[in-house]
Each structure stands twice: as C-alpha cells, then as structure tokens.
C-alpha cells in the first residue's frame, strides 16, 4: 500500500502557483525576521522595524484578500462589504488591547478606557465584558464576524438576492456599520477609534521581538488560511461552489441547497476576514471606523481583481502589489495615488480579466508554445 502523503502536500499537490507564492513569501518573512533581530543596524542588510510592521500589515491584507477571493472567485458573490467583517475582527482585538492598557492610560482609570472617561461614560458597557481575557477575545474575533455573516447571509441567500443587488446591499451594510461606529455614544471610541495600545499577552507591542513574532503569526495565519481555502475548494463542497458560481439555477434544479453552500462559504470567508482584522490591529496600532468605509471594501476587491480572481494565490499577489504601490505613492506622489488607483480599476477590468496571474499564465503558455514550435521546427530540420 502506498504511504499516505501529509495533508498539506496533498492539498498543494497540483498548485504550482500557490507553492511558489507561499515559498517566496516564507523566504521573505524569514529573512526579514532574522535580519531585523540579528543583523546590526549599521549593516546594509538590516531590515527596520517599520518594514517588519509594514510586511505584517500586507500579510493581514493578503489574508483578507484571500477571504474575499473565496467568495468572489469560487462562489461568484462580489461582496463590497468584506471590510465590515475585517473591521469587526479588528475591533474585537482593539477592545482586548484597550483592556490590556489597564490604569496606564492618560486618566489612569483601571476600570474604563481613556475615551470612555473622556466621553463621560460612567460604566463599562456590557459588550465590553469578556475582552479582558485573550481566549474569549480570540473566540469572539471569529464569532462576531461569523454571526454577522450568518444573519446577513441567511437573509440574503434565502431570498435569492444575487449579483449586483447583493453587492449593493453588502456595501450598504458596511456603510451602515461605518455610520454607527462613527457615533460617539456607541461605546467604541467614535471617530477616534481605539489606539494607544500598550501590550499583547504581556509582551510590549513596541518591542522588536513582539513585532517579529506578530509578523510570523500573520504569515502562519495566511498560510493556514490558504490551506483551508484550498482544502475547501478541492473538496466536493468546493466543486459544488464552483458549479453555483457558473450556473446557480442548474445546481438548484439538480437538488442541491444552494443557500446552505453559499452561507457556509460566506461564514468561513467572514471568519478569515475577522482574523485578518485581528492581526492588523496590533501591528498598525490603531483601529477607527474608516476601515468600515465602502471605499476600503471596494479597494480590496481591486486587490483580488489585479492579482487574479479565482486563484487564491492571485489574491495574495494582488494585495501585495496594490498595497506596496499605495505605500509608495502616498509617500512619494500623494496626488497621483488616486489617479493610479482609479486607473487600476479601469485597466484591470478592461484589459486584465484574469489579473497578473493571467498574464503570467499567458506568457508561460506562449513560451511553451514557442518551445514546441522550435522543437517541431528542429525536428523538421533534422528530417529535412
């Protein structure tokens, strides 16, 4: 009997692109970690802590893009509200970090976070209970987005809201949440959001080692997220999903309960987005209602579109490309960035229906074609 291969190798067996992207990322992350901790600052090979944090942020975004690609690329649901799930996870983490500050805040109130003292909130609101504990928080990071996805998805899919309608409603969802979170009396810090975090699980957030660990955890989360997504896609369930994407009515007529499949994938995607948000907060150091804005959610669609929809690893590539461009432009040419972003939207939809991944695939197939042509030519020459 043939020896069973480990599950991860099995999952990645036919996924050349995924293997390449993940290994490249792994090498980069490993190098950045080691270079930041062990190479002296004067050296040319030293990587600054800023870069470490930046890379961590990109990884969180990549996980978010991955989550979106799962529903958009394999289920055909263009969610313009994935920022909402991301933000909910982020806010959960932010609340935990706020509670960790304890009495080290400006007002020195051990019971209440600073902004509550400032806003004259006398008692800790009930929804802040439990965020003292990391394990409850970790649980909630997955639960809260999942719950929203469940309620929303249950209602939406049951009544067969599809296509553009669904997109617009998801956008309205995140817009409504943004308006709600901007309110000061919601008890989430209003438009200032949550910030001034001190430490996580007792480790100081400003320490290089903490930051490097967070980076490594982010990579691990992305890796696991990728494996989970791939596992779902390769399973029977994934086949049904793709069938739903391509011909929803037919799948329904065959007898599948389309709503349940959609709901399951949607919830998984929301949880992944929530985890991405939770990883984003400690590295960036602030969370405010801006991430709920429809602009952010729609921007993240473009990450996936640029990278290549429906490939998973394409989403990761897209997240890195667009965010790197964003970081570069907003510091170097802030005026140009929105033009560039707008142009990206137009160009990618018009000329890059399969994204960067599509181009690469096309180029390599061209190369192969040439090789084959050459070979046949050579063979022809030989025979001649």
């Amino acid at each position: 009997m043939e020896k069973r291969k480990p599950i991860i190798t099995r999952i990645l067996e036919n996924d050349k692109g995924g293997k390449i992207v993940l290994s490249v990322l792994f090498i980069i992350v490993l190098y950045v970690c080691l270079a930041n901790l062990f190479i002296p600052q004067e050296s040319a090979f030293y990587i600054s802590t800023y870069t470490v944090t930046l890379l961590g942020k990109y990884l969180a975004f990549a996980l978010l893009a991955l989550a979106l690609d799962l529903v958009w690329g394999y289920l055909g649901i263009l969610s313009l509200g994935h920022g909402a799930f991301f933000s909910l996870g982020a806010y959960c983490m932010g609340m935990y970090l706020m509670r960790q500050i304890g009495d080290r805040g400006v007002y020195g109130n051990a019971e209440l976070p600073d902004f509550m003292v400032f806003m004259n909130i006398k008692e800790l609101p009930w929804f802040w209970y439990g965020f003292d504990s990391f394990f409850i928080t970790a649980f909630l990071i997955a639960l809260v987005p999942a719950l929203l996805a469940f309620v929303f998805g249950y209602l939406a899919f049951r009544s067969r809201v599809t296509g553009v309608y669904l997109s617009i409603i998801t956008q309205a969802l995140t817009y409504a949440l943004m308006l709600a979170f901007f309110r000061n009396d919601m008890g989430f810090g209003g438009n200032n959001g949550l910030t001034d975090f001190k430490d996580i699980l007792g480790f100081n957030l400003q320490n290089d080692t903490t930051r490097v660990s967070l980076l490594m955890i982010s990579f691990f989360a992305l890796f696991m997220g990728y494996i989970i997504c791939k596992f779902i896609i390769n399973s029977k369930l994934g086949r049904v999903c793709i069938a739903i994407r391509d011909a929803e009515s037919r799948v329904r007529f065959i007898g599948y309960k389309v709503e349940q499949y959609k709901l399951f994938i949607f919830i998984v995607s929301a949880i992944l987005a929530g985890i991405a948000g939770a990883l984003y907060v400690p590295q960036v150091g602030i969370i405010n209602p801006g991430v709920f804005s429809p602009l952010f959610s729609i921007e993240l669609v473009i990450w996936v579109a640029i990278g290549g929809r429906g490939t998973l690893y394409g989403a990761i590539i897209g997240a890195f490309i667009v965010n790197y461009a964003s970081t570069y432009f907003t510091s170097a040419l802030p005026e140009v960035w929105l033009y560039a972003l707008g142009g990206l939207f137009v160009v990618s939809t018009l000329y890059l229906p399969k994204g960067v991944v599509g181009i690469i695939a096309k180029l390599s197939s061209l190369k192969k074609q040439n090789q084959i042509n050459n070979n046949t030519q050579k063979a022809a020459n030989v025979t001649a």
């Binding site: 296509g163 309608y165 409603i169 939809t349």
Partner: protein, 545 residues
C-alpha cells in the same frame, strides 16, 4: 366824527371777522398738517421734556407728513440744526472743513452756512433718542410703500407695548392692504388681551386661540397664571391648548415638507441612476461624480459671471446637463461599452472612474469645499403663518425635481428616442435588426442619465457645500432608492425616493440623524429579503437575468 368812527369800527369789525375767519381757516388747515412749520418751532427749546412733548404731538398730528420722518431721522443722527436768526430748521449734509453744507428741512433748499456760530444744534439725550426711534418705527405705518408699512407693523408686533394701541387703531382706519391689516389686528388682539377692559379681554383671549405666534402664547400664559377672574383663566387655558394642538399639527406638516424635500433631492439624485441602472443594467458607481460635476459647473459659472448670480442657476441647469452628459458619453464610449453584460466588472470600472474624477476636481479646484451663492429669489422663506414656513430653496427643489421627473418620463414614453431606448433595453438584437443603432442609443441613454445627475448637482449646490466628496454622500442613498423602488421603473423610483425621505425625517427626531440613516439602511436590507426586486419589479421574461 362819530360817523367816521362808526365806519372805522365797521371796517375794524370787518377786518376782525375776516381775521377770525382766516385764523379759523389757518387752524383748520393746521389740523390738516399745513402748520407743521409752526409746530416744530418749539423744538428749539432747551428742555428735553418740551421736546418730547413736541415730538409726541407732532407724531399724533402730522403722521402723514413726509417731512416728519426725515426730521426725526436727522434728529436721531444729531444732524438737525436751526439758524439763530430766523429759527429755520436745516439738516446737515456734509461737513467740509469749516464749511457746513446744509439743506432747509422744509423747502429742501440748499444752504451753505459758513459760520458755525450762526446756527445751533437740536440736542438730544438717550431717552429722547429712544422715543424718537420708536416713533420713527410707528411713522412707517403711514408710509406710502406697502412693504414699509408691513415691515413696521411686524416690528410693532415684535416689541408690543401699550402705547401702540392708539396708533394701531389709527392705522387700521386707513389701511387697505389685507396683509398689513392682519398683522395690526394680531397686535391689537394681544394688546386687548393684556390691557383691555374685562369684556375686551375675554373676547381677545378667545380670538387668540387662532393665533400661533410666540407672543400670543406668552400673553396667554401670563393671563392664565396672573388673571384674577376664574373665567378668564379658563378661557386662556383653553386657548393655549388650542394653540398647542394646532402648533403640533403645523409641526407635522413641516416634517412632511422636510421629508418631501429630502425625498425630492433623493429623487433627483436617483432618477439618473434609475435610467442607467434600471434601463441599461449598468451599475454606474461614478453617478455621484456626475452630480458633483453638475454642482461644480454651477460654481464655475458663478465664478465666470459674478454679476449674474440671479440668473446663474437658471443658466447652470442646461449647462450642467450638457457637461455631465458629455462626460457620461465619453465614459460610456471609452469604458462601459466594453463591459456590457458584465455588471460586476462595470461596477469596478466605474468606481475607478469615480476616483479619477474626484481627484481631477481636487487638482483643478481644491480639496476644500466651495460655496455656491444662492440667488435672491431663492433665499428666504414662504411664511404660511406664524408656526409654518417653507424655505424657498427647498420649495423650488421639490417643484423642480417633479418637473424633471415628468420631463424624463415624457422623453422615455413619448419621443422616438425614448421608444428606441426601450426597444434596445428590451431586446437588443431585435432592435438592431430593426435598424436601430444600438451603440448610439446606449451612448444617448447613458448621456441622459448622467445629464440628469448634473441637474441634480445644480439643485444640491443650493443645499450643501460643493466639494469633491459631494457625490459620495449620495451614491449609496441613490442606489438604495433604485433598489427599493424596483429596477427599471421610474414610478417606483419616485415613490421610493419620497417614502425614504419621509421615513428618514420621521425617524430623525426620535433616533438622531445618523441612527435614522442606519435604521433606514437596515430597513432596506430587510425589505430586499421580502421583495428582492423592489417595490415594483419588472414582470415577464425580461425580468430574468
């Protein structure tokens, strides 16, 4: 000699009689304001008491004389002088070194009095000045100009006091304008309620039940707490109750109006979207930016023609339509044309375009908000009564949006262009086979939708500041309206817009502005669950995607 004496006496008596008659005539004429000149003489007195009395009698006797108000005005400004020699009153026009340019008050002759010592000022003190001021206001009641009379009547109503009663009665005798009369009677009723005889008071308090002004309410409250007589008290309380209930009724109407106004703004913003989204199935995320372009067109027009603010809005309407329509056609030809049948891609591409358009505006103008001026005829408010008034800009926008709605309905239903548009949207291939240039029709439809958004921008520029994010604020709302109303049905859009506007304004006072918006969004999300295709879904085969 005796004879001569007699004759003399006769003559004397004759002259006496003529004198008496003459004097009488004089006296009579003085009653009719010809003796103004003599009546003002005592103003030369030094005593302020005398001056006050003089002014009081002057106002009583000569309120119809136009010179009186100019006299009082110049007195108020310390510009009234009299010559020492013959006590003619002059007003100072200009002081030019040592030269005093003055004008004779009565004859309007120009006089130049070189020497300061030749004339004297009519001095005033604070008390006198305040009396003059109130007298001046009252004098306006008798002005020839109806508007001035109305203004003055309103002023009296605002600072109501006991002394005005006589004046009001006098003014009421000759007043012809109903509007002025009404205001005067309002003041009169309040005065009666306050200071009249018991009989008067009872009547007035009863009448005040129809009043809505804060003054009336205040008076009634005073009466209800201070009055000695039980009957009066009860009456006052009844009237108060009546006022409060009619006030809340008017507040309700006002709320409906606000809802209508918000609804019509939503309608304007959504109607273009209803065409591009509903008819063409194109998700135009840049629709909000079309609105913004319209608003900026208005702003630019006002910058170019600063002297024509009054007409700029009128000119801006067709101009904004053209500019936005042009941008729309360009977008359609360059981008959207390639994406028909791929709604999600269209959504992304147009979103990119919206980002670019916003950034263009930021580069050309500035990231800051610009202020568009409101023409005179659009500012102010239409006052129905003391408790209810509609601001003109909102009123016009309500009317305007309905005109636009009817216009676009007519274009789609009655013109050959509209027929072609509907043909293309229902069956593209068939329309093409019939010889309709579908590409051209697509561009035209998109242009019309964008152009209407531009018009919406003109209207919005009168309500809010014009900035690069103007469109963003309305895009989600407009989509909600279209989705709520049902795609491809303009009537649905109308009803959805108005009902969402009303809903918003009725939730707002209870829950606050932001929460109202959130609740509405949640409501729509839930509504879509029940009716995924909106209030008025398209029926038949066409409805299937």
């Amino acid at each position: 000699m005796k004879q001569a004496m007699k004759i003399n006496m006769k003559i004397n008596i004759k002259t006496k009689i003529t004198q008496i008659i003459l004097l009488n005539l004089l006296f009579l004429s003085s009653l009719f304001a010809s003796d103004f000149k003599d009546d003002i003489k005592p103003l030369t007195s030094k005593s302020y008491k005398v001056k006050t009395e003089v002014i009081n009698t002057l106002v009583e006797k000569h309120f119809e004389n136009e010179k009186l108000s100019s006299l009082l005005k110049s007195m108020l400004n310390n510009e009234l002088f009299y010559t020492k020699k013959d006590k003619t009153f002059v007003t100072l026009v200009k002081k030019d070194g040592k030269n005093y340019h003055t004008v004779n008050l009565l004859t309007s002759e120009k006089l130049e009095i070189m020497n300061k010592r030749m004339f004297k000022k009519v001095k005033t003190n604070n008390k006198l000045r305040s009396i003059i001021r109130s007298k001046l206001a009252q004098l306006n009641l008798f002005s020839q100009d109806e508007n001035i009379r109305l203004e003055s009547a309103k002023n009296i109503f605002k600072n109501i006091n006991k002394g005005s009663l006589e004046l009001i009665n006098k003014a009421l005798l000759n007043e012809k304008s109903e509007e002025v009369k009404e205001v005067l009677i309002k003041s009169k009723t309040i005065l009666h309620a306050k200071f009249g005889t018991y009989e008067d008071q009872l009547n007035a308090v009863k009448n005040l039940a129809d009043a809505l002004s804060p003054q009336a309410l205040q008076t009634l409250k005073e009466i209800s707490s201070n009055a000695q007589q039980e009957e009066l008290k009860v009456l006052a309380l009844q009237s108060i109750e009546e006022i409060e209930s009619s006030k809340s009724f008017y507040a309700f109407i006002e709320k409906i109006f606000f809802g209508l106004s918000l609804g019509s703004v939503l309608l304007l913003a959504a109607i273009g979207l209803a065409i591009t989204f509903g008819v063409m199935k194109v998700i135009n995320m840049a629709h909000g930016e079309m609105i913004m372009i319209g608003a900026y067109t208005t702003y630019t027009l006002q910058q170019i023609l600063p002297n024509m603010i009054e007409y700029s809005i009128i000119i801006a309407i067709p101009l904004a339509f053209l500019v936005s329509a042009m941008v729309g056609v360009i977008i359609e030809r360059l981008v959207i044309r390639h994406l028909y049948g791929r709604p999600l891609e269209t959504l992304l591409a147009t979103f990119g375009i919206s980002l670019i358009l916003q950034q263009i505006v930021r580069t050309i103008y500035s990231p800051l908000n610009q202020e568009v001026k409101t023409p005179q005829w659009m500012s102010g408010a239409l006052e129905i009564n003391d408790a209810l008034s509609f601001t003109y800009n909102r009123l016009y926008i309500v009317i305007f949006s309905f005109i636009v709605f009817i216009g676009i309905l007519l274009v789609l239903k009655k013109t050959s262009l509209g027929l072609k548009v509907r043909a293309v949207t229902q069956n593209r291939q068939m329309a093409q086979a019939m010889g309709i240039k579908t590409g051209l029709i697509d561009a035209m439809t998109f242009g019309i939708g964008s152009g209407i958004a531009g018009i919406a921008g003109v209207a919005l520029s009168q309500l809010t500041n014009v900035g690069p994010n103007l469109g963003q604020a309305y895009i989600v709302d407009s989509f909600m309206v279209v989705v709520f109303g049902g795609v491809g049905n303009l009537w649905g859009t109308l009803i959805a817009a108005i009902s969402l506007g009303e809903l918003n304004k009725f939730i707002e006072p209870v829950a606050g502005a932001v929460l109202a918006k959130v609740l509405i969004l949640v409501f729509i999300i839930l509504f879509i669950q029940k009716r995924p295709r909106g209030l008025f879904p398209q029926k038949g085969r066409d409805a299937q995607d």
